[in-house]
């Protein structure tokens, strides 16, 4: 493979940036220099259209057996909990299942006609733990953007309940995280800064002409400008700090050209690789990945067909067509997650592994029933150093909101909130 301009070896980097503030990062070096303990991280992985009934373990507690679709997770059984029965009680309208990526991390009563959403748990966490890294969060999806209400392509929502776009191009994500900063980036940043300065002046003049009610409303615009200015400032500061360099072996293992339309497995693994690298290099501490949105007509629907599990698309597969092969497909999806966990455990960090310092919530807001809006299939993995206790299958009743788990994870991160969304308490069973 041709050497990319940003793929420079360490020696070159050292020479070229002799006056730069930081050394290029090797595995796990980012935080080690200025912190006593490894940072706490958070990660969410969403799978669409639920799972088959065969996914759910029957027994609960320590002695549960991994079902066939969960077998790939056997090596990590002691580092994860299977959690069933939770759901978002406020989102159980009839379109709630396929329209529920929107509320997986928010728990909002997201109903027609307004479809109002609320802040997602990852964004709330990013407010507290996102400040120390180059990026406050990294939001990824197989097809990016925001989608549309009930067919969201993102799990992340602002305080006002507005969607935040996800990134889908592995090249772009890699470039963002590790790409070389060149003159064009600087020029672009300068241009952006100049536009924002100018626009802020316009906004201030306009503010003077507005009545009180309008001023309150317009304040959103002004604060957006000011936030962006801060972001640009932050980016400019980070521009002068060298980005981490991905080691050759890691880079060579990356398939940034993976085509999600035809090689789902390669693509999903690439996205997991990028998530792993982002967390490992402490480029960010909050990562999410939407494996597929449930938008009609998107290409991810064809994955089970491309992979030979069914003649139908994913949605129909979920509706009970080719029931006998559905658990096999669930297992395929689980294998990808197991791949991610494996990478996370193979990265040593302090006394433990990267996984020990990262809480990962994996699952769906659809169940084993078509359009089912209760009994979410969930796996909580990692976070040992954050005080999570694992090894069991916990089953809850329909009235326990998923928000309780979100709240528990926030509490483990040290986010000082007493409730989240419709939470009614904590999920104490996963806490050591």
């Amino acid at each position: 493979m041709a050497k990319k301009s940003w793929h420079i070896d360490r020696r070159t980097m050292l020479r070229g940036t002799a006056t730069a503030m930081a050394l290029p990062l090797l595995e796990g070096m980012s935080w080690a220099k200025d912190a006593a303990a490894p940072p706490k991280r958070l990660c969410y992985v969403y799978i669409p259209w639920g799972v088959s009934s065969a996914w759910y373990p029957t027994a609960t507690g320590k002695d549960y057996e991994l079902t066939m679709p969960l077998e790939p997770l056997a090596p990590f059984k002691s580092q994860m909990s299977v959690i069933t029965g939770l759901s978002n009680p406020k989102c159980r309208n009839l379109q709630g299942a396929h329209g529920s990526v929107d509320t997986f991390l928010t728990g909002a009563a997201h109903k027609p006609p307004e479809y109002r959403n609320t802040i997602s748990v990852d964004q709330l966490a990013a407010k507290y733990i996102g400040g120390a890294t180059r990026y406050s969060y990294l939001l990824t999806a197989t097809n990016g953007g925001v989608g549309s209400p009930t067919r969201s392509a993102t799990m992340a929502y602002t305080e006002k309940g507005r969607p935040i776009p996800t990134l889908a191009d592995p090249h772009k994500i890699f470039d963002m995280l590790f790409g070389k900063v060149d003159e064009k980036d600087r020029q672009r940043m300068t241009a952006t800064k100049s536009v924002l300065d100018d626009v802020r002046e316009d906004a201030k003049s306009m503010m003077r002409l507005l009545g009180k009610h309008d001023r309150d409303k317009f304040d959103e615009y002004l604060s957006s400008v000011e936030t962006l200015q801060k972001d640009v400032q932050r980016s400019q500061d980070w521009l002068n700090r060298v980005k981490p360099v991905v080691l050759k072996e890691a880079y060579d293992a990356l398939d940034l050209n993976a085509d999600p339309r035809e090689a789902p497995e390669s693509f999903v693994r690439t996205m997991f690789d990028l998530a792993h690298l982002a967390l490992q290099t402490d480029s960010t501490r909050v990562v999410s990945y939407v494996l597929a949105s449930m938008q009609e007509g998107n290409f991810m629907r064809l994955w089970p067909k491309i992979l030979g599990y069914t003649d139908h698309d994913w949605h129909r597969f979920n509706h009970g067509n080719d029931k006998e092969t559905r658990p096999d497909y669930d297992k395929f999806i689980t294998e990808q997650f197991a791949y991610f966990l494996n990478r996370m455990t193979q990265t040593r960090e302090g006394e433990g592994t990267l996984l020990d310092n990262t809480m990962i919530l994996y699952g769906s807001s659809n169940s084993d029933k078509p359009h089912g809006t209760t009994n979410f299939p969930l796996i909580l993995a990692g976070g040992k150093n954050l005080g999570l206790a694992h090894g069991s299958h916990h089953r809850y009743t329909d009235d326990i909101p998923l928000s309780n788990l979100h709240l528990t994870m926030l509490e483990r991160l040290g986010v000082p909130v007493e409730s989240f969304s419709d939470s009614t308490g904590m999920i104490s069973e996963v806490v050591a």
């Binding site: 009934s53 406020k90 006002k160 241009a191 317009f218 009609e296 030979g308 395929f332």
Partner: protein, 834 residues
Amino acid sequence: MYKSVLPFAAVACLAAVATAAPVRSLDRFESVIKPFVQQHCLQCHGPEKQEGQMRLDSLSYDLLKGANRENWHEVLSALQKGDMPPEEAKNRPAEKELDVVVELLQDVFNEVLAATESTGGRVVLRRLTKYEYQNTMTDLLGIDYDFTNGLPADEKSRDGFRNNGSTMEMTTAQLLHYMETARDGLQRAIVTGEEPREMVSKSIVSSNKTRLKLYPVTTNALPKPKGRKSKATTTETTTSAQRNTTDIQPGEFFPFREGVLRVRVKVRALNDKVQLLAVATGKEGDKVNELKLIDEVEFRGKESQEFVFDVQMADYPKPVYAVHKGAKVHLLVQAWDANQIRFEQTFGMYKGIPTSRNFVIESLEVEGPIVEQWPPNSHTRVFIPSANSANEEVYAREVISHFMRRAWRRPITKGELAESLAQYQAGRDDLEFVPAIRETLVSVLTSPNFLFLAESARDAKTKVPLADHELATRLSYFLWSTMPDENLSRLADSGQLRDSKLLGGTVTTMIKDDRAKNFVEHFALQWLSLDLVESVAVHPEYYPDYDLRITQDMRQETLLLFEEILKKNLSILNFIDADFTYLNRRLAKHYGIPFPPNEELGFVRVSLRDVQHRGGVLTHGSVHLAGSNGEDSHAIRRGAWVLDRLLASPPPTPPADVPQLDSSNPELANLSLKQQLALHVKNEACARCHKKIDPFGVAFEHYDATGAWRGAKIVLVSTEKNGANVSSNRKKLKKNKPKPPAKHSTVPVDATTQLHDGTVIDGIPGLKTYLLTKKKDQFVEGFVRRLLAYALGRSLELGDRPTVERLTAQFHKDGYKLSNLIESIVVSDLFQNK
């Protein structure tokens, strides 16, 4: 300057009421109402119980300053409607006592209204909606481009509108989008360098085939697929129609990535049937079809006909996804017998390969990139022709001020221009002339002066007339959903827009203009909440033959009905019942309506005099689909839709803690709808609202989820066993295995229903009669309220009531003619003042 007398007269009149009628009823308000409330209301709406989340003992009795004015108005409405106190209440007051209380409350509110008119009811500052932004950028820059790709959908207000300033949000991601899109758009609109001398590519193919695929030239950017030649001849399927496929080998066509590729196709049919010709780009392979439809046209006749398609090369799949494992990027030109295929989004484009072929593609010609003129119109819109174009400093000033004037929809102040010029000068130090101008214009397009419909000087104590250009902007976004054109701006410049004699004519001209289509689309869709069809997935097991294009056809039917009512200035009662509609062949088939045999192409106006079950929006598939869950009709949603959208009296949202009926319960599935709803009403928490909602929904029962007529409805019987007999090995599906037949049972449909007020109706004909007789006034006033809210871009308040009443009275006199109402709204005080 301001010549229209009506608004001033209205304000003056209300002011007179306020001063001439000192707080007479208001003085008695607390002394009369407090004991009444204590005796009759607090049992359910007091400290112990708060039914409907209403608590009356803690409300402030100060209606002029207090925060509870809206709550008291709710009390008034409940008493007026007779909803409260409930029939079953133990010591329900006598009707006489109720009358006294209601009358007093009405007087009180009239006094409050007069007192509040001067402060409330301002149009809230609002930004452009997503579609307004798209339209405005298109008009401003003159390029065909998706400016909103990645921009989130706008929030809907409680009354269903997306242009409501109070509900709109602004986020940093959005702001970033506006900035980057401005830069991107300007880069596309402005050209640099020399005019391309000639067409890069031009070719003609004679074929007499039904399907042609054109491969792009192989460049370094497009990885060369392995074994394409052999694949191309082996992957074709073997149906008779497809055997006539021709692949044109790579290396011949369109070696350019941007701009327009023009495709001319000559076709003729071999029989009298309607044929469908489609052009798509994308790729097809053994497993993957991902084609983007450029356009499709229907044709008929044995004479040779030519169709022209313009393909944006930017729509072509990107090189990174170019060619893998047998899927080939190409341009596809194909014809079918239109009756034999249907559209299926998931698996590429069309399903149902025709068994016979009755058409040929005679020839195909592609050329591009198409350059209509140089520099393109989009360039000269920014870099205007000028005698000073050689003098950089003067010309920069001209270009920037010209653009700002258009983008900000008003004359620019000296200070504003000076600021922009300063930015330009600062940029010019580092940048060439064109990029320096461009960056300045990026700021202009990211500025709140562009993104917001700003109306200045809002601190005045009394309402003042809009400035001329503010009025032009309001008008333009109301009726066109885009910026004012030159003509409208000129009228504003000369002060003629304020001339009430001319205003009516201007409105008429605007309605006749093609851009009024934007009003039709956006108002109609929001008023009737038809955008909900986008979030309904039609369930393929229930509707295996559903063609996804029907969703768009049904939407189109509603829009065309609306358009006729607008353009021919018909009565809005046609929305409830009309003896005509618009159908195309596909939709007529879906509805089971015979289609005029000689006019089979596109949508035609169809008389419904001899047709049963259709006429008016209550019979439109778009409404039925929006009120469904993709599997079956959703009576509650449809019932709520009647109350909310047609009668402007939305039912309250269900309390969060009320459980939904479990739709996956198989016993429930076998009950008739009425039996299911009966369960619903048994539950007291649900009953309070649902006895008003559900009966309306039952009336729609003869229309299935997709709007087709039915006598009985189908219920699928689940045969699933939970996770039994699952093999633990990953096994691949065996192809072509026989599929178990889905089990069905049917439940008869019964659409007779007793409404909350006791009226018994049978189906939609009964509902139409009911609405047109007993609820006509409510429908009409509701429509006025909704149209006014859309026109103003805000929710209506108490203070707007006199205007609504005046408009409604005028509307009655005008025979409910839509254009008349629009004109009345435009000249109303609320629209004219800020």
